[in-house]
Symmetry: C2
Subunit: 218 residues, 2 copies
């Protein structure tokens, strides 16, 4: 009731919009300083929230970290996959694949996503489930979707392949690997330009088509 009175963000279920603020702050700090480099005081401070409040919403540092990574990975994964569904064929195979490759590579190469990837890899021993989650929602999901698309293209004679899943893996990594692996070791130093990324995407597509394309189509 009470007519008009949204101060800023009162629309939330009043109590636990703090939760969101805390997660936001946690994301910033964890991504910047890593798991052990981050203190709960720092998160509370950045969230402009009492430490007690943090512990009311998340029992543990581990819990907070875990939930943060899980939700972040899910968000990104969903965003990438909205775009991925736009891979409908216009008849021009190379153009369609290149367009998708460029978009996907750009998504994966965002600094925040790269940093999250480094973080999850670095903590893969301490948090095995997080590693698994990242892999399932990231590479595996992408590759699976690609595999079904490729299977259809093969059925229509546009591609030649015996194993769509394997071909999807090859395609995925032909496009991503070089920039991604390089970026893993260079912490935000010397980032690749967007133009370079597009070139890598296109080059990967060309190799894939040279290997699996059929002469009749281009």
């Amino acid at each position: 009731m009470t007519s008009v009175r949204e101060t800023v963000n009162e629309s939330e279920p009043r109590a636990s919009r703090k939760r969101h603020v805390i997660l936001q702050a946690a994301r910033t700090v964890f991504l910047r300083n890593g798991y052990v480099g981050t203190s709960m005081d720092e998160i509370a401070g950045l969230a402009a929230v009492s430490k007690q409040t943090v512990y009311k919403h998340f029992t543990d540092k581990e819990c907070l970290f875990s939930e943060l990574v899980t939700t972040t990975v899910s968000e990104i994964s969903d965003r990438v996959h909205e775009e991925l569904l736009n891979l409908e064929d216009s008849g021009k195979l190379e153009e369609d694949l290149s367009a998708w490759a460029r978009r996907t590579l750009a998504s994966v190469m965002q600094p925040a996503v790269l940093q999250l990837r480094r973080l999850v890899i670095g903590e893969a021993t301490r948090f095995p489930e997080l590693g698994r989650t990242f892999y399932e929602l990231g590479p595996r999901r992408t590759i699976e979707t690609l595999a079904t698309v490729f299977a259809q293209l093969a059925e229509r004679g546009v591609l030649q392949l015996d194993d769509p899943a394997l071909a999807a893996e090859h395609f995925n990594w032909l496009i991503m690997s070089a920039p991604l692996n390089r970026a893993m070791f260079f912490g935000d130093d010397q980032p690749l330009a967007a133009g370079d990324l597009d070139r890598y995407a296109d080059a990967g597509v060309r190799v894939f088509i040279a290997a699996h394309g059929t002469p009749g189509h281009e």
Copy 2:
């Protein structure tokens, strides 16, 4: 004097064989617990050495870590490259490439190497030079060597390619990416069997040859 008395390894320049013991212990502990998960006391304890001695040989925790990673990466890199030089052609291109691919993939997928990779990636923000070193001595060195080999093969008409360096990158990641990226996120859980690795290596080689091979040679 006292005639017979090699307890174990007296051959070293007496004083700084401690150094070696410390590095050995540091390797074990750092690889198991990460940089911040490791205490100097633990290293000293495992090395059966006083903490004072550790600090006599390495001014810092950072120094110790840094030197450890650098030397370890160099060792592995050298070992891999001895094998790499054995890629002399016997005339059968696919066989030669497959043999090299299998050996190299197996080297990179050793648990200790994987763990080191995770560690360096996770600390890439804190230790940028280590990331750079790993990348230079690892992927970049391998790819560079491959590029010169491919350039020769192209000159002799065995391969078709405009850009040997790019082709080398593609070849390298066609073989490594799928197992390697998967392994990054699964901390020693669910390791791939040697048979699976060989299959990945062979499949990568086949795609590469389908894209860059010349009809006359196989």
